[in-house]
Amino acid sequence: MLMYVAKRLLALIPLLFAVSVVIFSILHLTPGDPARAMLGAKASAAQVDALRERLGLNEPLIIQYFQWVADALRGDLGDSIFLRKSVVAAISDNVQPTMQLALLAIIFALVISIPFGTLAARYRGGVLDQTVNGFTLIGLAVPSFVLGLLLILLFGVWLRVLPVSGYTNPFEDFGRGMDSLLLPALALGATISAYITRTTRAAVLDVLNAEYIDAARSRGVGERRLLFSHTLKNAGLPILTVVGLTFGALVTGAAVIETIFNIPGLGSLLIQAIPRRDYAVIQGVVLLVTVVFLLVNLLVDILYGFIDPRVRLAKSGGK
């Protein structure tokens, strides 16, 4: 198992290299002079030159790249000229709400989708299956920001049970914090849960048709145990894959949701940085999000190994 994890970790290195090249080029793919673009048309030539010097733009490209990677490895992602603080500081000020939001959304999504997906597969074609299917269609079709606005209208404006916007850290005030995160997490989780429900249903259906389920049934194993103990572990593989992949959708979704609910997270930071052409912040946030995405999918790979012994104990051979 340790070997397997080590192998997966090693496989990350070339990926990270590719990612770093892409993110590094964000700055250099801008048309014209990035320093000019950052400072705007009104800046003087001296100001632009000074910024070019500060950003190291006068060095050869390859040197700039290695400089950037070396800095990034040391934890220095440059400074934001607009925020007047380092990118690392800006990110660490904003990372907590986003992480809480993402985690809550995924938990919320899993809690609805796994049981409903499983039951929909078990009672395929029945009323429950059709209802679940209908809801997943709605979930896929309605963008999360529309759902977010509807939720604000319902719970915030009409029922007045939850705040319409704003953010309180649940680690400081748990009740108010959860209140502030509940609606955005619901809005964000709904779309993802539609994906996961559909995958769960398909995966469970697949496994239920497998002969080993019939074989277990032929030995007298009861239906409920067949469904929840024998089937779900096998179905876990495709479900996990989708969970890992939706993590990307989660982060982009968070950017929109945070803006609607006025939550000071990474999404908001990014949304502010883009029109300002605050390249250092954009690079920093994209880098962080990419690395987190890779790590989540690494975790998925490792969990794969836990679920499926053939992955973990892979020997040579096999056809």
Partner: protein
């Protein structure tokens, strides 16, 4: 209530398909006596498997039943789900055809065995484990104390089937249903599993309903035989009587179609045999095995030749490398060492135009006719595809050629406009043969072309193949695990074991006077489709074997 453990009376099963309903089983009555092995034989679609599933209450929801099934006096078709669940495992259990799909890949075998015991009220975990270990010992799994925590993929096919049998035996049910229990196994492993099943009957007194299409297996194991045809029982008779004097025409045809070793070997001949079309010399084939995986050495230093007009039969058990050699000829497996000369060109170094030209002159028939056609293409398009790929002939020429070939494989010309899935297995494999012959190849590779077919269908396909080979005079590499089939078709035979050619010679040399112990073992393991002969040549149960009943198990 009767004393026999399984009692089927006027069973009828209808399966709904859309608005239609198919009568899978029409009014069938059958009794299984205590300690008896009753073979249920018939072609695919005859209703034998669905009958077996009905006995265990495992029919799909679309099926509706009439009649009565009694297991130990319990009416299965009228049972509540909970009663049905209790019957399964406790009174009746099932052994499946494909042991690798009958075991859940993500749980240890110990867990899976224990689930069956748990379902029948054995709540103590240690007790379940102890019993599971005893069961594994009984069916002959070495060091069961540690292997119980292994996963299915860590066992061989034969071991997996032993484990499935152990699970079926767990609560010592009166009735065991074995659905093609040896079809997926090699012949030497098959002999071991048949021996184990026999001991289940002799030592545990279990009654076995054996579903199979293999008459050799029937002759080896069954006491009585029930023959099914299109959902009806056509004949039930004691095994010796059935083989000696089958009453019904259908049974006679079925028995006549069974290929028998030594029955009709292809006569030796020299005429029509021409130059060498394929020559392997010290052929090595290594699969490189992907990123950071060990390469797999599939074929070691194999040498043989095939001449024009000659059929070279390649036999061996699964994993012996026989298919790999066949695939290497058409470029689906790499030639890694030694040399392989096809029609005068070296396969190892042939590239580009030379390779394309070679492929034009070689045909390939795949094993499974169901999966080797693109189901979006019509039969005609499938057959003419090689011509289109090699830009041979105008549309009219291709059309004419398709018709010629449909005639040659004795299918109506109108078939050209049908789709492969509308055809039966035998018809599809004839189309496969037509496709392989469309470019008039000088050499044909046939990889287990009939092993997915019923015996009666197989006989017809082999006959057509034989005729065409004589008429067209192509050289052929015929790959099969079935010695009787190979004997019928081949001029010469090579025997492969673990990637090495252990013996080669004319068909009669190899099969009648085998020199190698391995070849002899292979021949001895093939059950003869004649109960008297088979009983005489069956090796006595090896002394020193663990008895099935032992310890506190089954008490």
């Amino acid at each position: 209530m009767t004393s026999s453990p399984l009692n089927i009376e006027n069973l009828a099963i209808t399966i709904a398909e859309g608005d239609d309903a198919v009568e899978a089983v029409k009014s069938m009555s059958l009794d299984l006596a205590a300690g008896e092995v009753l073979a249920l034989v018939g072609e695919s679609g005859s209703g034998k498997t669905i009958t077996a599933r009905a006995v265990l209450g495992l029919l799909p929801a679309r099926a509706s039943t009439k009649g009565v099934i009694l297991i130990n006096g319990i009416s299965v078709l009228e049972a509540t789900p909970e009663q049905g669940r209790k019957v399964r495992g406790e009174h009746a259990a099932m052994i499946f055809q494909e042991p690798s799909t009958a075991l859940n890949p993500v749980f240890t075998i110990g867990w899976q065995m224990s689930e069956g015991l748990r379902a029948h009220g054995i709540s103590d975990v240690r007790e379940r484990r102890r019993r599971s270990i005893e069961l594994l010992t009984a069916v002959g799994i070495p060091s069961p104390e540690t292997r119980i925590d292994d996963y299915p993929h860590q066992f061989s096919g034969g071991q997996k089937q032993r484990i499935v049998i152990a699970m079926a035996l767990a609560l010592r049910p009166a009735v065991i249903i074995a659905d093609e229990p040896t079809t997926a196994l090699d012949v030497t492993v098959q002999a071991e599993i048949l021996d184990l099943l026999r001991r289940c009957r002799d030592e545990l007194g279990a009654s076995i309903l054996l579903i199979t299409h293999n008459m050799g297996v029937v002759a080896d194991l069954a006491d009585r035989v029930a023959v099914m045809y299109q959902g009806e029982l056509v004949e039930v008779a004691p095994v010796e009587e059935l083989f000696a004097s089958p009453r019904e025409q259908y049974t006679q045809d079925l028995l006549a179609a069974v290929p028998r070793l030594g029955a009709e070997p292809r006569e030796a001949r020299d005429e029509g045999i021409g130059d060498v079309v394929y020559e392997a010399e010290n052929l090595d084939i290594v699969y490189s095995g992907g990123f950071r995986q060990k390469p797999f050495h599939a074929v070691h230093g194999v040498s043989f030749t095939v001449r024009r007009g000659e059929v070279f039969g390649l036999v061996g058990e699964s994993g012996s490398g026989k298919s790999t050699i066949g695939r290497s000829i058409v470029g689906l497996a790499p030639v890694s060492g030694g040399s392989a000369k096809l029609l005068g060109s070296d396969l190892r170094h042939a590239r580009g135009a030379e390779l394309r030209e070679l492929r034009r002159r070689v045909g390939f028939v795949f094993q499974d006719p169901a999966s080797s056609f693109n189901s979006l293409m019509t039969v005609g398009e499938c057959i003419e595809e090689p011509m289109r790929i090699h830009r041979a002939g105008s549309r009219q020429v291709r059309e004419r050629r398709v018709n010629e070939l449909l005639d040659a494989v004795q299918l109506p010309r109108s078939m050209a406009f049908r789709h492969p899935y509308e055809l039966s297995g035998g018809q599809r494999q004839r189309v496969g043969l037509a496709r392989a012959l469309v470019l008039d190849p000088e050499f044909l590779v046939a990889d287990e072309p009939t092993s997915a077919l019923d015996v009666s269908v197989q006989a017809r396909v082999l006959e057509i193949f034989n005729e065409l080979q004589r008429d067209l005079g192509f050289g052929c590499l015929f790959i099969s695990h079935d010695l009787a089939v190979v004997e019928m078709l081949s001029d010469r035979i090579g025997v492969l074991q673990s990637g090495r050619l252990v013996e080669a010679g004319t068909a009669s040399e190899v099969l009648q006077y085998p020199k190698e112990a391995y070849t002899r073992r292979l021949i001895a393991a093939v059950p003869v489709p004649d109960p008297k002969v088979q009983r005489a040549r069956r090796p006595p149960t090896t002394p020193g074997k663990q008895p099935l009943v032992q310890g506190r198990l089954f008490q």
